[in-house]
C-alpha cells in the first residue's frame, strides 16, 4: 500500500447496503482519533446511523465534537451551497434571497453533478483548509458512490465556464492523489456484497481518479474447529455418543450440536465467497478482516470493539 490508511486525509467508506458501512466508518474515525488525529466523520446519506454508532444526538451540517479529537457532521447540500456561496462568491445576506436558494436547488437536482459536487466540494474543502487531519466519509452505497466521486470530472467536461468549473481543478488534485484520498469498500463474505465490491473496484479505477485504499471484510466467522476436531464432532453426532453426552451433561444437547453444524456450514459458505473476493481483487487493494463479534447491541461499545479489531489488522 502506497500510504498507510489512516495517514491519508480523506477516506470515502462505501459498500453494498447492509454490510456495516456506517459502523466501519465510525470505527475508523474512532481509531484515528484515539491515535491523536483530529478526525471529522461525515455522514452523507443522513439516515442517523452515525449518531447511533456513538449514541450521540442527531448530527447536523455544522460539525459537533463527539469525543476527544473526534467531530461528526451530516451532509446537507442546501447548507453546503449556502456556505459555498458565502465563502466563494462573497455573497452576503443570503438568507434574504431564500427563494433563490430554493430555485437553485431545483437546478442542482436536475443538472447532472451539481448536487454531488456540493458534497464532494465541502469534503475537499475541509481537507484543503486543513481543519482536520483526517476526514472519514460514510459515503453513499456502491450504486451511488461512483457518480459522486466522478462529479468534479463530469462538471469539468460539461460546464465550460463559471465558478463551479473553476473549483473542479483543486478538488481533482485532492481526489486523485493517493497520498491524500482513498476509497474503502466494506463487504461481508456473502455473494452479492463480494460481487458488488469487485464491480465497484473496477468502476472506481475506470470512472474516477480515486485510489482504492482498502477493502474491509466485515463479519468474518471464526473457524469453529481446529485440525482434526471436525472428525471428533462427526463422531459426537452419532446417536450413542450424543445420548452419552446428554446423559453426562443432564440436558438437551441436540440444539447445541445442530447449532454447531450450522456455524460450520455458514463459515464454509462464507470462506468460499472470501476466496472469490481475494482472487478477484488480486493485488488491487489491501484486505482488512473484522470478525463477527456476536454483539448484544449496536452502539458505542460495538464501535470500539470494531475499532480495536481494525487497529490489530493495521498492525498498531
Amino acid at each position: 500500500m502506497s500510504t498507510e490508511l489512516l495517514d491519508r486525509r480523506l477516506l470515502f467508506v462505501t459498500g453494498k447496503g447492509g454490510v456495516g458501512k456506517t459502523t466501519i466508518a465510525a470505527a475508523l474515525g474512532q481509531l484515528a482519533s484515539s491515535r491523536g488525529k483530529r478526525t471529522l466523520l461525515c455522514e452523507v446519506d443522513a439516515k442517523g446511523n452515525l449518531a447511533g454508532a456513538f449514541e450521540t444526538g442527531p448530527t447536523q451540517f455544522r460539525e459537533r465534537e463527539i469525543g476527544p479529537d473526534l467531530w461528526a457532521m451530516s451532509m446537507d447540500t442546501d447548507a453546503s451551497l449556502k456556505e459555498y456561496l458565502s465563502l466563494q462568491l462573497k455573497l452576503p445576506l443570503l438568507s434574504r434571497i431564500g427563494p433563490l436558494a430554493r430555485t437553485f436547488d431545483f437546478v442542482a437536482n436536475a443538472a447532472p453533478g451539481v448536487k454531488e459536487i456540493l458534497v464532494v466540494g465541502k469534503l475537499c474543502y475541509e481537507v484543503r483548509e486543513r481543519h482536520y487531519d483526517l476526514v472519514v466519509v460514510d459515503a453513499p452505497a456502491s450504486g451511488h458512490i461512483v457518480g459522486q466521486l466522478a462529479a468534479p470530472q463530469a462538471i469539468q467536461d460539461l460546464v465550460k465556464v463559471g465558478s463551479v468549473r473553476d473549483q473542479t481543478g483543486w478538488m481533482l488534485d485532492i481526489l486523485s492523489d493517493p497520498a491524500q484520498t482513498g476509497a474503502v469498500i466494506v463487504a461481508t463474505p456473502e455473494e452479492m456484497p463480494v460481487n458488488e465490491t469487485l464491480d465497484l473496484s473496477e468502476r472506481l479505477a475506470d470512472e474516477t481518479r480515486v485510489d482504492l485504499a482498502a477493502v474491509v471484510v466485515n463479519r468474518v466467522l471464526p473457524e469453529l474447529f481446529g485440525r482434526g476436531e471436525e472428525v471428533v464432532f462427526r463422531a459426537l453426532r452419532d446417536d450413542t455418543a450424543s445420548a452419552a453426552l446428554a446423559d453426562a451433561v443432564g440436558g438437551p444437547v441436540e440444539p447445541l450440536l445442530e447449532g454447531a453444524e450450522l456455524a460450520v456450514k455458514m463459515r464454509r459458505t462464507r470462506a468460499e465467497h472470501l476466496g472469490d473476493l481475494r482472487a478477484g481483487l488480486g493485488r488491487r487493494a489491501e484486505l482488512l478482516y473484522v470478525p463477527e463479534l456476536f454483539q448484544r447491541t449496536h452502539g458505542v461499545r460495538a464501535t470500539r470493539q470494531i475499532a480495536d479489531a481494525l487497529s490489530a489488522e493495521l498492525g498498531y
Binding site: V164, N195, L236, D238, V249, F294
Partner: protein, 392 residues
C-alpha cells in the same frame, strides 16, 4: 382478508399473492429483497396459476441462472416450464421475468410521449439527457413505477411482483411520480425554458440568473434550458402518466411487502417504511423477515447445557469417551468447549433478533420469517424451497 396463521406464529403470503395484482417488495439494501420477490413469484406461478411476472432491478447472475435465463433484459422473458418440472413441481401457471433497464425504459418513454420524430431525436441525442436519466437519482425510482404501471395497464399478467431499486431512502420511489409531476409544472422550468430573446428579467428572476450565471456559466444554463424546452413538449403526457402511476400505487389491487433482516439498521428502516406507507394510506400486506437465525438457538435449557460444556469440558469428555467411540479425550474436551461457546455466541445474536422481531411484529401483524440459509440459491428448486417458508 384474515391472514392465515401458521404453527410457528408466522403468516403465509399465499392469500396475499392470490388476492392482489401488484406486490411491491421494498426494504433497505442487502436484506434479500430480490430473492424474496423472485421466490414469491415462483411460488405463485407454481401453486396459484395464472401468468406471473417478476420485475427485478439488478439480479445476481446466480439468480438469473436459477430462473434459467442467460441474462435478464428489459423485455419480459418466460422462465422455462421444464425448470419447474426439474424442481419436482408441476406448475399451474407461467413465470415470467424482466429486468429494469433505466436507460432503455427512459428511451421508450420519450419515444411514446415525444410529439414528433424531430423532438424525439433531439431529446435522445441531447448530452444532458443521458446524464439526467442516468444520474438523476430519482430517475430510477420514477422509471420503476412507470414501467410497473405500463405493464399492469397492458393486462398481460395476473400478478406482478416488483423488486424496488436500491434507493438512498426507501420511500423515495413512493414519491417519485408526484415529484416528476411537480418538476414538470415548476415555475423554474418555465423560467428556464423561456427563449432567451424574450426572457424578461423580472425582479424575482434576476438575482437567480445573476447567481446561476456566475456559478454555472451561461452556456451551461443555455444547454439546460434547451434540454428542458424539448422535454416540456412531453409535459401533458408525463404529468398525466405520473398521476396514473400514483393512483395505481394506492389501488386496492396493489399491496406492499416490506422485507428486512433482524439487524438494527435494516429493521429501523423497515419500521420507518411501514410508517411511511401508513401515512400515505398505501396498504401494507406483509413483513418478510429474512436470514433469521433458527429457533434452536433460543431453546429452553440449552443455555445451561452450553455453559456446562464450557465449564466442565474435561470431565464431560471423559464420561462420553467411556460410553462411545469419539476419539481422544483432550480433543473431545476442546470440541465440547467450542460447541458450547459457539452456541452461547449465537444465542446472544438470536436473542437480540427475537426482540427485533417482536418490535416489527408490533407494526404489522402479518409477519413471515425466512430462516437463515446456509447455502446460496442456485436453481429454481432453491427458490421454491425458500418460498416454502413464505407459504405454509
Amino acid at each position: 382478508m384474515t391472514p392465515k396463521r401458521r404453527a410457528n406464529g408466522g403468516t403465509s403470503l399465499e392469500p396475499l399473492l392470490a388476492a392482489k395484482e401488484i406486490v411491491i417488495c421494498c426494504g433497505s439494501g442487502g436484506v434479500g429483497k430480490t430473492t424474496t420477490a423472485a421466490s414469491a413469484a415462483a411460488m405463485a406461478a407454481a401453486h396459484l396459476g395464472g401468468k406471473v411476472l417478476v420485475i427485478t432491478v439488478d439480479p445476481a447472475r446466480r439468480l438469473a441462472n436459477a430462473l434459467g435465463l442467460e441474462r435478464f433484459g428489459n423485455a419480459e422473458t418466460q422462465v422455462p416450464p421444464e425448470l419447474f418440472v426439474e424442481a419436482g413441481v408441476e406448475p399451474r401457471g407461467e413465470l415470467w421475468a424482466a429486468m429494469l433497464d433505466t436507460k432503455q425504459s427512459w428511451d421508450e418513454l420519450v419515444r411514446a410521449h415525444a410529439p414528433d420524430a424531430a423532438t424525439r431525436d433531439a431529446i435522445l441525442a441531447n448530452p444532458l439527457y443521458e446524464n439526467i436519466t442516468g444520474r438523476f437519482v430519482q430517475s430510477h425510482d420514477y422509471i420503476a413505477m412507470e414501467r410497473l404501471y405500463e405493464i399492469h395497464a397492458s393486462g398481460r399478467y395476473d400478478l406482478i411482483v416488483v423488486d424496488t431499486p436500491p434507493t438512498r431512502n426507501a420511500i423515495d420511489f413512493l414519491e417519485a411520480p408526484d415529484r416528476m409531476a411537480d418538476f414538470f409544472s415548476s415555475r423554474l422550468l418555465r423560467w428556464l425554458t423561456v427563449p432567451a430573446r424574450s426572457r424578461v428579467f423580472t425582479m424575482a428572476s434576476k438575482p437567480f440568473y445573476t447567481v446561476a450565471d456566475r456559478i454555472l456559466g451561461s452556456q451551461f444554463l443555455q444547454d439546460i434550458a434547451e434540454f428542458f424546452l424539448l422535454f416540456q413538449t412531453m409535459y401533458d403526457g408525463f404529468v398525466e402518466r405520473a398521476q396514473a402511476v400514483t393512483r395505481t400505487l394506492s389501488d386496492n389491487r396493489t399491496t406492499f411487502v416490506v422485507v428486512s433482516t433482524l439487524e438494527a439498521s435494516p429493521a429501523r428502516e423497515a419500521e420507518f417504511f411501514i410508517d411511511a406507507l401508513a401515512s400515505r394510506k398505501y396498504p401494507l400486506g406483509a413483513v418478510v423477515i429474512n436470514k433469521a437465525l433458527p429457533a434452536l438457538f433460543l431453546e429452553r435449557g440449552a443455555k445451561k447445557v452450553a455453559e456446562r460444556l464450557c465449564r466442565d469440558a474435561g470431565p464431560l469428555a471423559e464420561r462420553v469417551a467411556a460410553a462411545a467411540p469419539v476419539g481422544e479425550v483432550p480433543q473431545l474436551a476442546r470440541v465440547l468447549g467450542e460447541v458450547g461457546e459457539s452456541y452461547l455466541n449465537f444465542q446472544v445474536v438470536a436473542t437480540r433478533e427475537a426482540e427485533q422481531r417482536a418490535e416489527l411484529a408490533r407494526h404489522a401483524d402479518v409477519v413471515a420469517t425466512v430462516p437463515f440459509a446456509d447455502h446460496d440459491i442456485t436453481d429454481l428448486a432453491g427458490l421454491l424451497e425458500l418460498g416454502g417458508s413464505l407459504w405454509r
